[in-house]
């Protein structure tokens, strides 16, 4: 290769790598998005606790990913097609590391690590929303540590790390396809959320037995719609990096196409949820269209690169309807999920993964089902074991008195809105 060709390759390498880094920063913002959404949809007296959890997760996520996660998720070629692999503790490129050669001129070793590391904490953050307002802070942190350090990377390895899902059915179109993680990220978190909600049980006062013996669901209203909306918008903003960055290069056609399907699916998710909430609930529920936007985004995440534009709109719209129905259904089942994390990330994560099989030409629905099933089979039991183990050792749930008083005072000895008057009875 002559000088000009090398220079051109270097320029291409630089722009590819730059996009992965910009996408990393965008994914970072999603952590703020999750924090805002969760606090907005819960009660004021638990706000400090929610922020603490979400900030701690970023720290635990990045540090454990550096220590073991990256190495579990991308153990190297010798584990191709495997169920598990490990490349040793810590990070740092192999001997003879040449940046431009590392990923065929797409990004450096360091970009690879930091982009993947930002994704990692997401899985635990998803759980956070479903267990909010009643979990003990220490137990939650321990759960997150293990979930992010081990469970998430192992599942990730199956597909993105070159494991068995990647070679399923001989690979190629027969293999499992999950572009940016409807299953690998969102449903992993979603199964954890479901396990947490089941083991913890509903918040005090959420489901009341009426005189007639029937159960009634009480609204425990979120205390700040503005913060919830900030959360939703920032999550979407970050999703441009989450999906766009998953192209793993700045390829003009690839990234721009993913931007279009992502944005249209999000928009369609809002529209779908708007129709559903207006029809079912009589008055249009703001929190439902916010869930709808996220549902559309989760739904398109698996197939943003291979699904056609009209199909992306359909996938998003169905996700928007689905999330409304799912929130109402889980409420009927008395599974208390304050922010709708199970409906958004698990239900729509599964939907999005299936949608690839349904809408993307040539993709195999069998592989999609295999991926969904295997993820469920690992994550749900693992999360249940973790939560039950914590329940019987450290304890998982705060005392009734602490829950009534709010976790901000009981767990942190602080208030989120010092000086403001709000009715603590609500």
């Amino acid at each position: 290769m002559d000088g000009a060709a090398a220079a051109a390759a270097d320029a291409m390498f630089t722009v590819n790598n730059l996009w992965l880094l910009v996408a990393t920063a965008l994914v970072f913002v999603m952590h703020l998005g999750f924090a805002c959404l969760e606090l907005g949809l819960t009660r004021a007296r638990n706000t400090v606790n929610i922020l603490f959890k979400n900030i701690a997760i970023v720290s635990l996520g990045l540090l454990t990913y550096a220590l073991v996660g990256f190495s579990l998720m991308y153990p190297g070629e010798e584990f191709a097609g495997a169920w598990f692999g490990f490349d040793g503790f810590g990070i740092g490129p192999d001997d003879g590391y040449e940046p431009i050669a590392y990923a065929d001129g797409a990004y450096t070793y360091w970009s690879d690590f930091i982009f993947q590391g930002m994704f990692a904490a997401t899985a635990a953050t998803i759980v956070s929303g479903a267990v909010a307002e009643r979990i003990k802070i220490e137990s939650f942190l321990i759960f997150s540590l293990v979930f992010v350090a081990v469970v998430y990377p192992v599942v990730g390895m199956w597909h993105w790390g070159g494991g068995w899902l990647n070679t399923f059915g001989g690979g190629g179109d027969n293999a499992f396809h999950d572009f940016a993680g409807s299953t690998i990220v969102h449903s992993v978190g979603g199964w954890g959320a479901l396990a947490g909600a089941l083991v913890l049980g509903p918040r005090l006062g959420k489901y009341i037995r009426t005189a007639g013996g029937a159960w009634q669901s009480k609204a425990l209203m979120g205390h700040s719609m503005p913060f919830a909306a900030v959360g939703m918008f920032l999550l979407w903003f970050g999703w441009f990096g989450f999906n766009g960055g998953s192209v793993l290069s700045a390829d003009a056609s690839g990234v721009s196409y993913v931007f279009v399907t992502t944005a249209l699916a999000g928009a369609a998710g809002i529209a779908g949820a708007m129709v559903a909430t207006w029809t079912i609930q009589a008055k249009p529920d703001l929190t439902m269209i916010m869930n709808g936007a996220l549902a559309g985004l989760v739904g398109i995440t698996a197939g943003a690169d291979v699904i056609g534009v009209p199909q992306a709109v359909i996938v998003g719209a169905i996700a928007g309807v689905l999330v409304v129905l799912s929130v109402l259904l889980f409420d009927r089942l008395r599974v208390d999920d304050p922010v709708g994390a199970i409906s958004v990330h698990l239900v729509c994560g599964v939907w999005g993964t299936l949608a690839v099989g349904l809408f993307a030409p040539g993709k195999s629905i069998v592989a999609q089902l295999a991926g969904i099933g295997a993820t469920a089979a690992l994550c749900l039991p693992a999360a249940l074991v973790l939560f039950l183990g914590l329940k019987h050792t450290l304890g998982l749930r705060v005392s009734q008195a602490d829950e009534m008083q709010g976790l901000d005072i009981s767990e942190h000895g602080m208030e989120a809105y010092s000086g403001f008057q709000f009715f603590t009875t609500q």
């Binding site: 009634q216 669901s217 609204a219 209203m221 008055k283 529920d285 439902m288 929130v327 409420d331």
Partner: protein, 119 residues
């Protein structure tokens, strides 16, 4: 000396205050309150669960007043806090007025005591 406590609809506060002003009743205090009364709560709906809004927002007025102004004060509030003209519709949620006796009163600024300190 009497203490008039009135619970009214918050949106009526400005009107009542201005009506009292026209009657030369200029001193009053207001707090936020939640009231549980005959009126049915507003129907709210959050994520599919019914919201039991049995505590409605009310403004609580407190007016200390000399006895000769009492009737004027009570009547003015009663008149302007009403929402409807037709007698059959106006019965619920418009509020209540309670009158209590005051034993003593002090104006902090100059130490005046008793009835002259009220106004």
């Amino acid at each position: 000396m009497k203490l008039v406590i009135a619970y009214i609809r918050p949106e009526k506060l400005t009107e009542v205050k201005q009506a009292l002003l026209r009657e030369d009743i200029t001193k009053l205090s207001v707090t936020n309150a939640l009231g549980c009364g005959a009126e049915k709560g507003i129907h709210e709906n959050y994520r599919g669960s019914e919201v039991e809004v049995d505590l409605l927002k009310r403004a609580r007025l407190e007016i200390a007043i000399n006895d000769q102004y009492l009737d004027r004060c009570v009547d003015t509030i009663a008149e302007h806090a009403k929402t409807s003209e037709s007698p059959d519709e106006q019965e619920q949620g418009d509020g209540k007025i309670f009158v209590l006796n005051i034993a003593d009163c002090v104006r902090i600024g100059d130490g005046t005591r008793g009835a002259p300190a009220i106004g």
